[in-house]
Structures are given as C-alpha cells and as structure tokens.
C-alpha cells in the first residue's frame, strides 16, 4: 500500500475505525515504513494526551448528592401509585446502590488516572537518556540528595541479601506536588518507587497489588506519606519491594 493512501486512513487506523482486513494491511505497512510509523506514533501520543487532559472536571459532592436525590424523587414520581407502592422499596435500594456505585466508581477512576500518570512517569524515566538525577547504589547518598528539593523526608530500605539494586532517584511531580522517584533494578527489570505526601485519601486505596496497562502497582500509606511501586514485574516482586520499604522505619 502506498504511503499516500495510508495517510488518508491514518486517523481511522489510530481511532480503530478500519475494517480488520484494512487494519492488518495498515499494520504490515507501518512496520516497514518509518515515516508512517512516526505519524502513527504522533497521533497515538496526541490521543493519549487529549484523553488525559480531557478528564479534567468532577462534580462537587454537594451537586452529586442533590442530583441523586432529585433523580430518585423524579424517577419514583414518574410511576403510577400502584407501581410505586410495589416497587418503591426496591427502587430506593437500587438507586442507593447505584449512588454508592457512582461514588465508588469516581474513586476508582481517580485511582486509575493516578496509576496511569505514574505509569507514564515510569516509562518516560526509563526512556530518558538521563533517567535519574542522583546516580548511586548507596541509599546514604541517594536519600540526602532529596533534602531541600522536596518538602518531606523518608527512609530507604537496606537491600543486602535481596535481589534489588538501587540505581538512583529524581524529583517527580504528581498533581503538581513534588515527590521522590527511586529507581530499582531486579534481574533485568527496573521498578519505580514514588513517594508523595498523603492527600487525605488514606483509606480510599486498595492495599493489594493490582495489574493495569501491563504494569503491576502497589500503594500504601505510612507516616503521612503515600508510596507507589510501579513496574512490569511479577506481583511477588512488587510485594517484596513494598515490604522492604514498609520495614524501613
């Protein structure tokens, strides 16, 4: 397929709107054509950027509650009295459940966004020519480097006798708040540990590791700080590193 023909279909390809046979043909071309591959990458990055930037606004809790109440009232009022008598209790239970789902869903999507942002930071760090600003395997060199650069202090674990090696660290930003990003190596993989100040949602996070976007995540809160481990490593490795940090005092 010629590049000119491909370019006409570039957006449709990236948007997943081509027929499967066309998409296959397109994929084969892109793998062998660096110019089209760059264009595809450009569009994918743009889609990702808009998707991230576009999820910008959340309704206030007050408005959310008011709407739930009004909707419950209006939906009940829509029915005849006979139906109302029979279904009102069940409807109320369902609406309350849906309301709870909505609140839980809001938390979940916020957490997914946070994990997405951390995965981006992790990938960008690994892709960077200078992944860390302080390069050292010695925790007594890396930890003091952050003094004065972030508004809190933290402890790093002793790694002797483990499979983990400290590579270094840098300052990272999450939601415009500065924090620490530490890079560790385990076998041939690199893992990021992010540390930020807790933002008042200590109980809202699940403590078990979870897998998303091919990455494994684990997060916990300790002494007013929130820790996140992000890496394309098995859950057991993430848990081991998390435990080392938790025990670090």
């Amino acid at each position: 397929m010629a590049c000119e023909l491909m370019r006409e279909k570039l957006d449709a390809y990236v948007d997943g709107e081509l027929l499967p046979s066309e998409a296959r043909q397109f994929g084969i071309h892109v793998r062998g054509c660096s110019a089209c591959a760059v264009d595809v990458l450009d569009r994918v990055q743009m889609k990702k950027a808009v998707s991230g930037a576009g999820k910008a606004y959340e309704a206030s809790t007050e408005f959310r509650r008011r709407m739930l109440g009004e909707l419950a009232k209006a939906d009940r009022g829509r029915k005849s009295w006979g139906w109302k008598l029979v279904l009102a209790p069940a409807a109320l239970v369902l609406i309350i459940s849906l309301g709870l789902m909505l609140l839980v869903g809001r938390e979940k999507s916020r957490h997914e966004r946070t994990f997405g942002e951390l995965a981006d930071l992790h990938v960008m760090t690994l892709a960077s020519a200078t992944p860390v600003d302080v390069v050292s395997t010695d925790r007594h060199t890396v930890k003091p480097w952050f003094e004065g650069k972030i508004p809190f202090a933290f402890n790093l674990p002793e790694l002797q006798g483990t499979d983990f090696t400290l590579i270094g660290g840098k300052v990272a930003y999450l939601g415009q708040s500065p924090g620490a990003q530490l890079i560790y190596r385990i076998r041939k993989h690199q893992v990021s540990v992010f540390i930020f100040q807790e933002r008042g949602e200590a109980n809202a996070w699940a403590s078990d590791p979870l897998s998303m976007l091919s990455f494994t995540f684990q997060t916990w809160s300790k002494n007013g700080l929130r820790y996140y481990v992000v890496g394309d490593i098995p859950v057991s490795d993430v848990e081991s590193l998390s435990k080392l940090f938790r025990d670090a005092g």
Binding site: S51, A53, G54, W83
Partner: protein, 178 residues
C-alpha cells in the same frame, strides 16, 4: 408522556453511571462549574421526561450526550460559542511547525489550555472521541451529523489542537508534530 410500561428503575439504572462523563463534558462545553451543573440537571430532567420515547436497546449514552449538547447549544453560552465556529477552519489551516521532543510534566496543562481555547465544535468532537472513546457512528448520533462530517471535523479539530499546542510549546517540550 413517559411509557408507563417501562421498568420502574430503568432510567436511573441507565442514566446514573453516565453522571461523571456528562458532568465532565458539560464543564468542558460551558467552562463554568455552575453552568455545567445547570446543564447536567437540565439534561437529566429532559431525558427523564422524554424517556418514554427512548427505544430500549438503542444507544442510551449517545442519546444522553445528544440531549446535553442540544441543551448547551440553546443556552446563552452555547449560542455565543457557536457563533464563533468559523474560527475552526482558520485555526486548522495554519502550517504546524515541527517540534520533536517528548511531552513531560507540562503536557497536560498545555493540552488542557489548548482544548479550552479551541472553538466548541472542535473541543466537543475531540472530547467525544478521545475522552469518551466513542466510535465515529456514536459521535455522529450525538452531533447529528453524517459520519463523513465526523471524520473531516475530527481531522480539522486535531490540526487546530496540534497548532495551538505547538505554539504553546515553543521553547518547551512537545509531542512530535508532523
């Protein structure tokens, strides 16, 4: 009049999970929290009132977004915004200048700012495609335009956004602009 034969909680069951998406979309259109709340409330009121005419099994999400958008277009802010839609072509026709470095921390704020500055017609189609991840057919239902127009409008909107971001990123970081 609503169809009394519909199950008692079907509307809430279908409409409540869309609340966050509708609110985000409304806020992007109006650029104002209070107006966004009014718009979402109006959408739910109209949808509930017209729910009897909605065919169960068809695309409820597209139906809700269409109600919201139509309510916006007839609002004062919407009328004002739609009068400036001709800006779209002029914005899209500017030649993009190449930027060839990665987006980092500044990206999200700059893209968000650029989205805000886009004409509503461009902003809404980008949000439906990239944030709501709607297929072209679904976008066509929301905007009540043919699929071919969805594609061309989307193309122009992306070009316009690219140009705005490119300008804002001069001297900073950017995604590669072709």
């Amino acid at each position: 009049m609503p169809d009394q034969s519909l199950p008692a909680t079907t509307f809430a069951e279908l409409a409540l999970p869309l609340f966050d998406q509708l609110y985000n979309f409304a806020h992007w259109l109006t650029q104002d929290r209070s107006e966004a709340e009014d718009l979402v409330q109006e959408t739910y009121t109209k949808a509930l009132r017209g729910f009897g005419g909605f065919q169960i099994g068809t695309n409820f999400r597209a139906w809700m977004f269409r109600i919201l958008r139509n309510a916006f277009l007839t609002s004062r802010t919407g009328l004002k915004a739609s009068s400036g839609e001709e800006e779209l072509d002029s914005l899209a026709s500017v030649d993009p200048s190449p930027e060839d470095v990665l987006i980092q921390e500044v990206e999200r704020d700059i893209v968000r700012q650029a989205l805000t500055e886009l004409p509503v017609a461009s902003r809404e189609i980008l949000l439906l495609c990239e944030v709501e991840e709607m297929k072209y057919e679904e976008i066509a239902q929301v905007l009540q335009i043919p699929i071919g127009t969805v594609m061309s409008r989307l193309y122009r909107a992306r070009q316009a956004l690219r140009n705005l971001v490119s300008e804002k990123l001069k001297g900073k970081t950017a995604w590669p602009v072709s």
